[in-house]
């Protein structure tokens, strides 16, 4: 019974290419999400084809996610990881159902964070992406925002896997804090992408292309506060609460299965003819 000190599982290992891709994806992600802030007045974003840029990203992001998934999958995504991914993604999607996918009550992270924690970064990344994809397909909520949600969730899972080692209460506290922050950041970033659409044109909180970064930030903050705090704060609180309440058993369950599925478990054949084979 190694519940006390489980070895750090890394269900999906990251090769060099994977790392390159992830870094690139992260950079592109920043551009894709934050372009409204950096776009200058007369750059082509708001020139002739005014709203093309975000839609370009709507195409690019999924492609990038695809490439990353392919890279992560290449070899290191064995039956166990895939089965776990599928089942966890389904559970996440189901958890999301009672909230009807409404932003306010979003228990997705409550599963995603511990899973990323237990099964490692790569797994967290894939799980985040797949969970939101599945729940979108199940609730029929496929839309231009989907790639961005997948992307955001993927990173939440990823960084959950990057958290420093800790045990017991500290671990739970850390996860809860991370969950809350992640939830807030998620909402903020989603808004940042969505902002120019909802409030393009002439409102006091609307995105004005080419305005100074500070002013746009100010207006964005205004937009965020006035529109989304109502959802984001409760979501963050819920996530943290969930992790505090159910975090320990969930972690326990995940570690149990990590043990039972025997990732990296010692396998050996003692045999006259052949011996010492590995998985």
């Amino acid at each position: 019974m190694t519940v006390a000190t489980p070895r750090r599982v890394d269900a999906v290992r990251l090769g060099l290419t994977a790392w390159v891709l992830l870094v690139a994806a992260f950079a592109l992600g920043i551009v894709a999400f934050a372009w409204p802030l950096f776009a200058s007045a007369s750059s082509s974003i708001d020139a002739s084809h005014s709203n093309d840029a975000p839609w370009i990203f709507v195409v690019l992001i999924p492609l990038l996610i695809g490439v990353i998934l392919a890279e992560l999958a290449d070899g290191s995504l064995d039956a166990k990881s895939v089965a776990l991914l599928g089942v966890l993604a389904a559970s996440g999607a189901v958890l999301r159902l009672p909230s009807g996918g409404v932003a306010g009550f979003e228990p997705v992270f409550f599963l995603l964070v511990p899973a990323g924690r237990v099964f490692g970064r790569g797994f967290g990344f894939v799980l985040g992406a797949i969970t939101l994809f599945v729940s979108a397909l199940i609730t029929g909520g496929v839309g231009p925002w989907l790639p961005f949600q997948m992307f955001g969730a993927a990173w939440i899972g990823f960084f959950a896997g990057c958290l420093p080692p800790a045990r017991g209460r500290i671990e739970i506290a850390m996860l809860a804090a991370y969950g809350a922050i992640a939830a807030l950041a998620y909402g903020l970033v989603m808004n940042l992408w969505f902002w120019p659409f909802v409030s393009a044109g002439d409102t006091t909180v609307s995105y004005v292309a080419g305005d100074s970064l500070v002013d746009n930030l100010r207006r964005f903050w205004g937009f965020h506060v006035t529109t989304s705090f109502g959802f984001d704060i409760p979501r963050a609180v819920f996530t943290a609460l969930f992790i505090v309440v159910a975090g320990r058993p969930v972690l326990g369950a995940l570690r149990r299965v990590a043990r039972r599925a025997a990732f990296e478990a010692p396998v050996s054949f003692i045999d006259a003819s052949a011996s010492g084979s590995t998985n």
Partner: protein, 365 residues
């Protein structure tokens, strides 16, 4: 009119994306309404009788909500453009931590119309997406994935299969709570039921993995070095192109070539990488969806519509009628014709077969 079969999902998505691209190019309410109508018409006449075909309706509702939100937004935060004042709401200025934005003031017809147009455009885009999702089965979509994404696809399929069982399980667990003399209602019950469901799920995953393993999962030809090099090269090329593209997107000084073209190149390269990587696996597909005449027609219809919109936008402002001063939107005949072409799939696409839907989507409802 071929025999009943499911059209290749790729065709539907091409069509839908082209249509939504049309919607993105215009704020002309007439055209936008026509786009929505076309999408609806095609969906109604070619959707299979399956749960996920409902998503179009929900997308329409969502669209309505978006319009309303956009208008309300305008009323609350709208900067007061001159024009015919409809009514006035008291001004409020939020505290500084909320960026000191000011709400309220006189609301003019012009501003409302502008908001309405924008909302309508978003609604139209949503309708297009809804059309795509309700027209093609997610399962087919997964089967159409490039083979390098096979693992991810399998994970999603498993999730589909498992989701309804998880729901059933959670109900059983809630009942079980009652059997143990605990309340089976309220958030607490819900949370408490989540854990056993999760545990069951995990046990299930282990069993599933064993079954997959013993059924040859992950038995793929080791991707040859050449192929691997090629796909990695493509990926890197794509990344560079994208980097350049997004730089050009943000810097006014950059030449036009550094913008959309670069990004398009990047996208193409990534797509190429995905497909090239696919060659390396020894996996085969059972009864892959054909790409035949109907597929060509459907995707072509979408492209035609888009083309018509592009040429119209070349000719003038008909696609973006002015709201200040408010003017009666012109109706560019060419665009209308293009959209009518986009409605052709309602007749050209094969009828879907009567298939029994798996319980996934149903239970999710």
């Amino acid at each position: 009119m071929s025999a009943p079969r499911l059209l290749h999902p790729g065709a539907w998505w091409l069509w839908a994306v082209a249509l939504s691209a049309c919607a993105l190019r215009t704020t002309n309410p007439v055209l936008l309404c026509l786009i929505i109508a076309v999408a609806g018409w095609v969906v109604v006449s070619r959707r299979a009788d399956v749960p996920w075909s409902r998503s179009f309706a929900s997308c329409l509702r969502l669209g309505m909500i978006v319009i309303i939100v956009r208008v309300v937004f305008q009323i609350l935060f709208g900067v007061r453009v001159s024009g015919m004042t409809l009514f006035t709401i008291p001004e409020v200025t939020l505290p500084d931590w909320a960026a000191g934005v000011s709400l309220g003031g006189p609301v003019t017809l012009e501003s409302l119309m502008a908001a309405l147009y924008q909302g309508l455009r978003l609604a139209a885009v949503l309708a297009c997406f809804g059309a795509a999702t309700s027209l093609c089965s997610p399962y087919r979509m997964l089967r159409a994935l490039p083979t390098v994404l096979y693992e991810a696809g399998v994970a999603v399929t498993i999730a589909f299969t498992f989701a309804p069982q998880a729901i059933v399980a959670s109900r059983q667990v809630r009942e079980a709570r009652r059997l143990r003399g605990r309340s089976d209602r309220g958030v607490r019950a819900w949370t408490a039921s989540a854990l056993p469901v999760l545990e069951g799920a995990l046990d299930r995953a282990v069993a599933l993995a064993a079954s997959m393993d013993s059924r040859g999962y992950g038995r793929r030809g080791s991707s040859s070095v050449a192929v691997r090099r090629r796909s990695i090269g493509l990926v890197l090329l794509g990344l560079v192109a994208i980097a350049v593209g997004s730089y050009g997107l943000l810097d006014p000084g950059a030449p036009a070539l550094f913008r959309v073209p670069a990004l398009a190149l990047g996208a193409a390269a990534l797509l190429g990488a995905l497909i090239a990587g696919g060659r390396s696996t020894t996996r085969t597909r059972y009864r892959p969806d054909p790409w035949a005449a109907p597929e060509w027609i459907v995707s072509f219809a979408g492209v035609v519509a888009f083309g018509s919109f592009v040429s119209v936008s070349r000719m003038g402002d008909a696609l973006n009628p002015s709201t200040n001063p408010l003017e009666v939107p012109a109706v560019p005949v060419l665009a209308v014709v293009g959209l009518l072409v986009a409605a052709l799939p309602a007749w050209c696409a094969p009828r879907p077969p009567a298939l029994v839907a798996p319980s996934t989507m149903a239970v999710a409802a």
